[in-house]
């Protein structure tokens, strides 16, 4: 079904029902994602996390949401009114549109599009507009800085994200997400394209402003970034959009790389099993993202940009080229997988070696030179 | 059933608005935006023609793709020039950059 047919078809009622289901599901997931994150991070830090509200603190998310809804909606005097007020909605709309295109089970999503993967890219690009509007409309220099950082970061990391996914789409031979998932009956694409998966995950961390790429929202640097001036329901819209985007990306990654509803036990156990499979896989990815946040420190802005432009983009284009060669010459997928694993290992190994190397003392200047330590 | 003429008229209006913006705006970024409007009007025309008159060859679609790509290149370059202009003259107004004169 093309987007046009979906758009003009007569099945409006069906669509509305599906949208309602997805939105409800999303709300629940987001509320418990915040709870989950706090718990997971706390465990990493040898704490307990929320325990008081409800059994094992399970109602903490709900309580937070209620509190936010009740808070006063403050607007700074020199903020640009319409821009300021519409920014949260604009951050939310793209995420919602992405959710509308994702398959949760075989042939079950709000809409199944022939150009599904392309649609996801295109709509995710719009995400950044809300962030920029928030930065510009707040009339606050921290917000502006956060907006600039977010914009630079997001348009940079969009390139390796898209290219790595295109490399996978080349193998699949289609942009239809359902077809891509169905194709992974025997093996998920992560086994064939681990390097693409690594690039995808890195870029997603950046797109979502998650640690270690949380520079636009860094509290310790720019006191929260572009939504520093927001409060109450508008702030919670940002939070909602952020966690919804996290979930949407995770489902997207699960569908493309982990087989979605297809792998490991196939789709013959019924739609509910497929739904559970998709959700579990996406939650696994989310757990991975939390884990990264708990482990890695934040990067500097210049490190962030040079990592993207000098490493990720090159590697992703090399991946595209290698995949193209394999497809052109019709070489075996086993060889491709081996090459890809080797590439992923080399890539991660290079990052690791770079991270643990000793600072180049001879290049230091001033006091650092005498102390023999690198600057912070 | 929207006839071809509707698209053409819409495109003409967009184009005229873009022309007006280019001619009347002082800020370089705004001029650039107006140029984008004009380019959009043009590619709208191309796509409308392709869909209505020439669906077999899709030439208009290809042209629209080219227009979009060229627009991207143009924006990148033009904004670099604007930033450089701003850095040199502390203003992004096009009519203040009038050194190139007799």
């Amino acid at each position: 079904m093309t987007f046009g047919e979906a758009f003009f078809g007569m099945s409006w009622l069906d669509a509305i029902i599906r949208i309602v289901i997805v939105v409800l599901l999303m709300t629940v997931v987001v509320v418990y994602l915040t709870y989950g994150e706090r718990k997971v991070i706390a465990r990493f830090q040898m704490r307990l996390g929320p325990t008081r509200t409800g059994p094992a603190g399970l109602l903490q998310g709900v309580a937070d949401a209620l509190k936010l809804l009740c808070k006063e909606d403050v607007r700074p005097r020199n903020a640009d009114r319409w821009v300021f007020e519409f920014a949260p909605y604009l951050t939310f709309i793209p995420v919602f549109l992405v959710l509308a295109a994702l398959p949760f089970a075989r042939d079950w999503g709000v809409r199944n599009l022939a150009l599904g993967m392309f649609f996801v890219f295109a709509v995710l690009g719009l995400n950044i507009v809300g962030v920029l509007m928030a930065g510009l409309g707040s009339g606050n220099k921290y917000a502006l800085l956060g907006g600039v950082r977010a914009a630079a970061q997001m348009i940079s990391y969009e390139i390796p994200l898209v290219v790595a996914l295109l490399a996978v789409a080349m193998l699949a031979g289609t942009l239809d997400l359902n077809a891509i998932a169905a194709m992974q009956e025997s093996r998920p694409f992560v086994l064939v394209q681990p390097l693409a998966f690594v690039i995808f995950l890195t870029a997603v961390l950046s797109e979502l402003h998650r640690a270690p790429f949380d520079i636009p929202v860094a509290e310790s640097e720019i006191v929260g970034g572009y939504f520093v001036e927001y409060s109450g329901i508008r702030w919670s819209m940002f939070q909602l959009a952020e966690y919804a985007a996290l979930w949407a990306f995770s489902i997207f990654g699960a569908v493309v790389f982990l087989g979605g509803w297809q792998f490991p036990f196939g789709d013959d156990w019924g739609w509910w099993w497929q739904l559970i499979l998709t959700l579990v896989k996406s939650l696994l990815l989310i757990l991975l993202i939390f884990w990264v946040r708990a482990t890695l420190p934040r990067l500097r802005m210049d490190q962030l940009m040079s990592f993207c432009w000098k490493a990720l983009i090159e590697v992703s284009f090399a991946l595209l080229l290698v995949n193209g060669l394999f497809l052109y010459f019709g070489w075996s997928e086993i060889i491709l997988a081996v090459v890809n694993w080797a590439g992923a290992a080399a890539f991660l190994g290079a990052i690791y070696l770079r991270a643990i190397r000793k600072p180049a003392v001879e290049n230091l200047v001033g006091a650092y030179k005498h102390a023999g330590v690198s600057p912070p | 059933m929207v006839p071809l003429e509707n698209y053409l008229v819409l495109s003409a209006i967009l184009f005229a608005l873009g022309v007006y913006g280019v001619l009347s705006r002082r800020n370089a970024v705004l001029v650039l935006m107006s140029v984008e409007l004009m380019l959009n009007a043009v590619s709208l025309n191309f796509v409308a023609f392709a869909a209505h008159l020439d669906p077999d060859r899709a030439t208009g679609i290809v042209f629209a793709v080219f227009v979009i790509a060229v627009a991207a290149a143009e924006v990148g370059l033009a904004l670099a020039i604007v930033i450089r202009l701003f850095r040199n003259r502390s203003s992004a107004n096009v009519d203040e950059a009038a050194t190139l004169r007799w």
Partner: protein, 167 residues
């Protein structure tokens, strides 16, 4: 029926947003109107049943071009004086005249011409395979040249916008 109504709504939105681009007194508002206008044109492409171009429109214009514009706005926000300057120049009336003349001419041409081979008013869906074939086979050489153009343009942009010593 519903298609026509939707079309008119979207078209009106596009025209309104475009007017906002050229008339609004705030640079930021103009940029946001531009996004709306571009997105609206993308929606118009959906009416023409070419999803591919619509998505390209969203991806390139919505995701990249307007972001660049907003970024440039952020970087060139403050004038030397720090006070807001008029955004419309002195020749605006002449510009309006010329634009009106052009619009009248173009509309006249569009309406008066009997377009050859008009397929009865309804657009034909063009598959992405068809577009891909056209792009990579019939227009392969221009495509490659365009890639080179993009590369050169971005290298040039970096060179121009680069912070030099003493800046």
């Amino acid at each position: 029926m519903i298609t026509e109504v939707l079309w008119w709504i979207v078209a009106a939105g596009v025209v309104g947003a475009s007017a906002g681009v050229v008339l609004s007194r705030s640079v930021v508002h103009a940029a946001i109107f531009l996004i709306l206008s571009l997105a609206g044109v993308g929606a118009i492409y959906l009416f023409l049943t070419v999803e591919f171009i619509a998505l390209v429109q969203f991806l390139i214009y919505g995701g990249a071009v307007t972001v660049l514009i907003l970024l440039a706005l952020m970087l060139t926000r403050m004038g030397a004086s720090g006070r807001p300057e008029p955004l419309t120049g002195a020749q605006a009336p002449f510009g309006a005249l010329v634009a009106a003349a052009l619009m009248a001419t173009l509309i006249g041409v569009a309406v008066a011409t009997a377009w050859p081979g008009d397929l009865g008013g309804s657009p034909t869906a063009i598959s992405i395979e068809r577009i891909g074939a056209a792009l990579f086979q019939n227009y392969g050489a221009p495509f490659i040249i365009m890639a080179a153009l993009l590369l050169v343009a971005f290298v040039g942009a970096i060179v121009i916008a680069r912070q030099e010593d003493g800046d």
